[in-house]
């Protein structure tokens, strides 16, 4: 076939495509982020449609708690949308294994994401990637700048400085040193153990060694964070045993506490609630000058329904999600949900900037329990919640907690048996 003929054919399809605007391809996005509905409708979708005429996109979220169940039944019935928002790790992997999510390894836009970013949506051997990473959340500590100024405190860099600061706040008595409760349990694990832990187990190095069975939860690197957590109990507010997550948020935004062990997803809410200036510091290292590690947890991604009749259009959209344009819109509309792409995304929110700046100084890792290790019974993540809360309350020793988790893991996970 000569070049002219190809050119003519291409021209013909272009004319046909533009002429048949009534036959626009329509894409539907399944998501649990109903909070983000306006962001998608007002910013992301118009930007995409402007760049890609002929494709119309609808964002159709369902309630977060029902998302997995609703999505599964829609996929089984063949009525699910073309694009599917992916939960990290096993929930999405199960969909891929069941043939509901398409393999996107060859997608051009994937080149813009690091291996750690993609690890949440890959098969265990890393051979297939089935969702395009969207955003991660970073752990650290948010503090009340006014309180720190009042008490003449500096941002703690090392653990010793961290506890010295807590002691100073406690001594002064105006503020509760740290706002966290153990009632809901997950904060103790997520904002406690997995927040400070990476500095002990050296991020990815320890995490992958644990998965490979080379390290155990009874090793010093995994027990030491519990030992530090055990000291936290003294600095939490009165009755922290019955303090819930919203209680902690309110205590901090009302200005009654000085430090809040945080995830970056709090930024939007805190900006709206708190009327004092906030800053953030990263998990303190053991001795000054140590290499630092942060939990930069992959949280949300987008995949393609394998049964979608509009696979080409869907791939165009997913490819676009790998661009700097998308990263920019998303990260700025939702400060605290950081783009996982390797593009340099300028953000306006100072607190979000602070969080994301640690990526340059420290090594990123994800929460230790999320990949593979929470697949069996007993569930390691749920057990970690329980253990972290018990250790903070002083009802279980760090060593016993480590041993219990290790025994549980060893009961079903072959590399640890």
């Amino acid at each position: 076939m000569s070049l002219q003929k190809i050119g003519a054919a291409l021209l013909a399809t272009t004319i046909l495509a533009t002429g048949a605007s009534a036959q626009d391809v329509e894409l539907t996005i399944e998501s649990w982020r109903n909070d983000d509905l306006t962001l998608w409708q007002d910013k992301i979708i118009p930007a995409f449609e402007a760049a890609n005429p002929g494709i119309k996109v609808t964002f159709a979220p369902s309630a977060p708690a029902e998302y997995n169940a609703v999505l599964n039944s829609k996929l089984d019935a063949g009525s699910a949308g073309d694009l599917i928002t992916c939960r990290p790790f096993d929930a999405s992997l199960a969909l891929y294994d069941a043939g509901h999510l398409a393999d996107l390894s060859d997608l051009g836009g994937m080149a813009n994401f690091s291996d750690v970013a993609k690890s949440a949506w890959q098969t265990d051997d890393g051979s297939a990637t089935f969702c395009v990473p969207m955003a991660s959340v970073i752990h650290g500590f948010i503090y009340n700048k006014d309180a720190f100024a009042e008490l003449g405190l500096e941002i703690p860099e090392t653990e010793a400085e961290f506890f010295a600061a807590l002691d100073a706040i406690k001594e002064d008595g105006t503020y509760i040193p740290m706002a966290m409760g153990t009632n809901d349990q997950w904060e103790a694990a997520t904002m406690g153990y997995n927040n400070i832990g990476p500095n002990y187990w050296k991020g990815e190095e320890g995490r992958t060694a644990l998965i490979a069975g080379e390290q155990k939860l009874t090793d010093e690197a995994w027990v030491a964070p519990y030992r530090t957590l055990a000291k936290w109990g003294d600095y939490l507010g009165d009755g922290y045993e019955a303090q819930t997550y919203p209680d902690s948020q309110n205590i901090f935004t009302l200005g009654r506490a000085a430090i809040y062990p945080a995830g970056s997803w709090e930024i939007t809410g805190f900006n709206a609630q708190a009327d004092f200036e906030m800053g953030a510091f990263k998990p303190p290292v053991q001795t000054a000058g140590d290499e630092c590690y942060i939990s930069d947890h992959t949280d949300i991604a987008m995949g393609m329904n394998a049964a979608s009749p509009n696979a080409d259009a869907a791939k165009t959209f997913l490819d676009w999600m790998g661009t700097a344009e998308f990263a920019n819109i998303y990260a700025n509309a939702l400060p605290g949900f950081f783009s996982l792409s390797s593009h340099d995304v300028p953000m306006e929110d100072p607190l979000a900037q602070e969080f994301v700046s640690w990526r340059g100084e420290c090594n990123s890792t994800i929460r230790s329990t999320y990949q593979i290790l929470s697949r069996g019974t007993p569930n390691l993540e749920n057990d970690t919640w329980n253990a972290s809360a018990q250790v903070i309350k002083g009802e279980e020793s760090p060593e016993d907690a480590g041993k219990r988790l290790q025994d549980g893991l060893a009961s079903w996970y072959a590399p640890h048996m």
Partner: protein, 304 residues
Amino acid sequence: MRTSRIKWHIVVFLAPAMLVYTAVMIFPLFNTLRLALYTEVEQSRVFVGLDNFRTLFGDPQWSGAFWNALWNNCWFFIIHMLVQNPIGILLAAILSHPKLRFAALYRSAIFIPTILSFVIIGFAWKLILSPIWGIAPGMLDAVGLKFLFAPWLGKEEYALTTLALVSVWQFVGIPMMLIYAALLTIPEEVLEAGEIDGITGASAFWKIKLPLILPSIGIISILTFVGNFNAFDLIYTAQGALAGPNFSTDILGTFMYRTFFGFQLQLGDPHMGSAIATAMFGIILIGVCIYLFGIQTRLRRYQF
């Protein structure tokens, strides 16, 4: 005249209720029992007989959680039997006193929590008992008993008892109403006859009224038993599916929910969940049978 014809009108009149009941109660019940005999391997359902039960009772991880939940359930029931029902009877006895003023007001006030949603109850009590915003510490402080306050819902040793008492507070109106109704049916003549024989006041209650309301107390006990062993909502709204602290408030209902539907990173396992549901069904069945054949048949009834 003798007839052996089928009475079609009975069938027709029973059919709607039977159909609805079968569709929403009997079929799901048996399907759950059936589901407990399967498991999922490589995306397909496989029949495994009683393997799930072997895991549930044999595997220390599972059986530990099961016995913990069962004991918590028993404790929940014991508190109700020891606190809710005696208080209910006492309130009914007081309310039925002819000289009590504003009886209707008290009756409604005590009964109202019963009709409130578990979500409201759970949330309201969580706030009342909250060490941070709650009014409980302030109230105790006002009477100089602040030292008695503890974050009850967050302490392993108190949490379940606290929740059981919240549930008692909510449901004390039910035994009160049933006993109250039973007390009202006792004829005046019987009491008057007792009075002539010198039985008045408290001894009239113990010797005449109590024996006459025993069948009602039996019914209340069995309702409490079934209600408590099916309980779930209050624990779930107050403490979440993980039934903290450290599973001290985990009852069979929350244990079943966590297993069946999954929780956080734990994927749901409908088959193990059904096995737990079947065990719950068995426990309730045994309890009800003990009551029906062991107690109910021995209760003496009086006809007036």
